[in-house]
Amino acid sequence: MQYEVVIGLEVHVQLKTKTKAFCGCSTEFGKEPNSQACPVCLGFPGSLPVLNKVALDYALRVALALNCQVQEYTKFDRKNYFYPDLPKNYQISQYDLPLSRNGFLDIYIEGKAKHIDIRRVHLEEDAGKLIHRDEASLVDFNRTGIPLLEIVSEPQLNSSQEAYEYLTTLKNIIEYLDVSDCDMEKGSLRCDANISLKKRGVQELGTKTELKNMNSFKAVKDALEFEIERQTELLGEGEPIIQETRLWDEKEAQTVSMRTKEEAQDYRYFPEPDLTPFIISQDKIEEIKKAIPELPREKMLRFMRDYGLSEYDAKILSSSKKYAEYAEECMKASNNKNKKSIANWLIGPLASAASDHHCAVPDLKILPSELVKLVEMVDLEVVSNLAGKTVVLTEMINTGKDPETIIKEKNLIQISDTSALDNIVDEVIKENAKSVNNYKTGRGNALMFLVGQVMKKSQGKANPKVVQDILRRLLK
């Protein structure tokens, strides 16, 4: 492609503090409209804001986890514009002295690291919700004032895939920090993108368009891809790119111009006189740093080291904090034996079961000690792999019973004892002369067919490996 893609992402994350940024209203989601508001977040005349100390702590936690330089002296500013979801017609945000700047995170594309600089991370307040009708709009101020973190990347992402990776990596880190639900559907994570194209080798950036209204990471990727195509086509025809805001239309799978009179907004930022400035001491920074847990990448590398997992497997297990914690509990419960098997079970059968139940693996509520037992029993061939990952696992999930009980109750103990199996094998050989013949004349599939017949006759309880050995021995 003769054009280089340049993408910058602006992510807004709702912090899961108990109360709003500047008042004591609850931040609980989904309440009756306009039932979670007060004079402060409603911007009633005479009301004044007071900053939530946990919002500040959470913001610092994210800033430090993203390797930012924390501003020792930081303040809030008013961003002035008129909109019905903004009760004061200004938003308390941060302008020239934001909480933190100059951070970075690394994304990994096909194993290779790429360093993405983060321009700034700052705190601000959320606006309300608008419901659009034909002739009017309805306003609900419950969401007004919930603390938001704005995370702005430098325009260093060069493909939709990189953008996607950036978002998943960022989300993962923030989840680990336990400061937000990061749920795009609920609106606790939002993303806007800026994208432009430039000719390879040229320094100057092209005209950028801003993309909004993407409600999932996939939508971000799709929107970017559409926009890359659109801009490429325009540039190919010698048409200029208009600097504008475009909305992603999920249904039609295209970006659409907002077509508003694109006057550059003059926000008339000035220091918020109703809030004091904030001085972040070194002690505070150290205190926050201590509260940062092992982050996803570190955990992944450690899983690879400690449990001998592949990067692929380790990445899956560390993809969510709860999942990783559950995995570690299972490893501990096994005294670090069968690590690879346990990992495989967590990534394979348990993940499938979780998917079927529309939940996460830890929500299946299987006790680590019991998973370990099941894995052990399969590895020792007490029960077949197939039975273990289907019948036993399902029973464990549905009834909460332990694996040994289930295996006994359902009579699933695998028969591995050759003397017990000899008779059945003999019978099958006698009943399947044709297949026996096929086997002896070198058609290898016949062996598996005969194994299958033994499995049938033993109601699945025969150990297939042992059966194979017996067959080979008897048919020599």
């Binding site: 911007g43 009633f44 709009s137 809030l275």
Partner: protein, 489 residues
Amino acid sequence: MVMERELYKLTAHKLIEKLNKEEITSQEVLNSLKNRVEDIDGKVKAYVRLSGSPFLNRTPKTEHQKSILAGIPISIKDNICTEGLNTECCSKILEGFKPPYDATVIKKLKEAGAAILEVKTNMDEFAFGSSTENSFFGSTHNPWDLECVPGGSSGGSAAAVAAEEAIFALGSDTGGSIRQPAAFCGVVGLKPTYGRVSRYGLIAFASSLDQIGPITKDVKDCAILMNVISGHDPCDSTSANIEVPDYTKSLHNDIKGIKIGIPKEYFIAGLDSEVKTIAEEAIDKLKDLGAAYKQVSLPHTEYAVPVYYIIATAEAGSNLARFDGVQYGFRAQGTGHRAQGLIDMYKATRGEGFGEEAKRRIILGTFVLSHGYYDAYYIRALKVRTLIKQDFDEIFKECDCIVTPTSPTPAFKIGEKAADPLKMYLSDIYTISANLSGIPAISIPCGFTRKGLPIGLQILAKPFDEEMLFRVAYAYEHNTLWHKMKPKL
């Protein structure tokens, strides 16, 4: 023995004494005041929406008589939020607004046993003004000369106290709005140190300059009120966490050795000659009482007004953006107002709902913050503000207080300055610097012009040194009779 009918004439502290002793009841005080208002407010027009609301809905509780404020009614400026009672900043755009909460000062007054009057006092719309001529409800008249303005923006409160149709009152001061009307009306008015009194519930004009303060018949009443309303408020991030002394303890008539600074920049051309003479006599009186004085300089005085009109309008423009017809107040709607669509609704509502001065200040404030002008105006003004504050810091290294006339002129005639906004702005020249520097200041009556208009003397002190203000003000008052004189109405 004071007749019940005449109870309205007494100071709050005198009434408290009688109420505590149960010589009178708070109902009697209220009745007396109500009758007085009915008698003369038609001439003075200190109160707004008088016919619209009951004077005081709730019967004063007898148990309050033993409390600090003993059930005495207090008159509140129309920009201080009182739960369930109309609070409209004397503006059309806030018509009908009933706040769902009490300002912190109102809470404190209630806890101290005061009875909050339902009718509010008149003011310049959103406190934009120095004459109370910018009220949606029309002008208040100076009780000393009904053809003159009472000053502004707390003109209603000052006129009510002067005309004895308020026992005591609260006002707000952003550039002189308590002190200047107090001077024009011959009463006491104090602007606390910024952060001394909570701003929570004060409908904001300029957030870094506003303070609520008392307007009273004498210095003792002022001290009593300051005791009640001062103090840290966790709802106000800009309220200071500094202990409140008992201000009445500063009322001991002794200013021997106190060092007073007289800034030369306040006694130059532009100062009315009568005001000059009277102010100088007052300063001589302070000298007679034992104070020492020296001439000092506040070199950046002349820049205070331009600095103020940049900072105050910038903050006001932003603070008033919320008045848009969405959640409360006036909304322009229907075909008569051509409002179609949201932006038209905003523009029509604000175009019609705001008065001329309000529009002027909002637009000026928007301009000085706009792209390309922010550094030249707003940032520059913030820097000059630093210089103005430093001037005062220097003086207070050697002086305990500073004394000046409160206003360069006595009360002017209604309509005299209304057509010239700039002329009106310049009348704030002596009061504005105290707001820019955050220091406390009081105005006390110190004489009358030949035509019988009151003149005010302003005393300024270091941050959080209201005690100094009370000490000097009380000593002066105790040894003069200005505060005892009342207008003939």
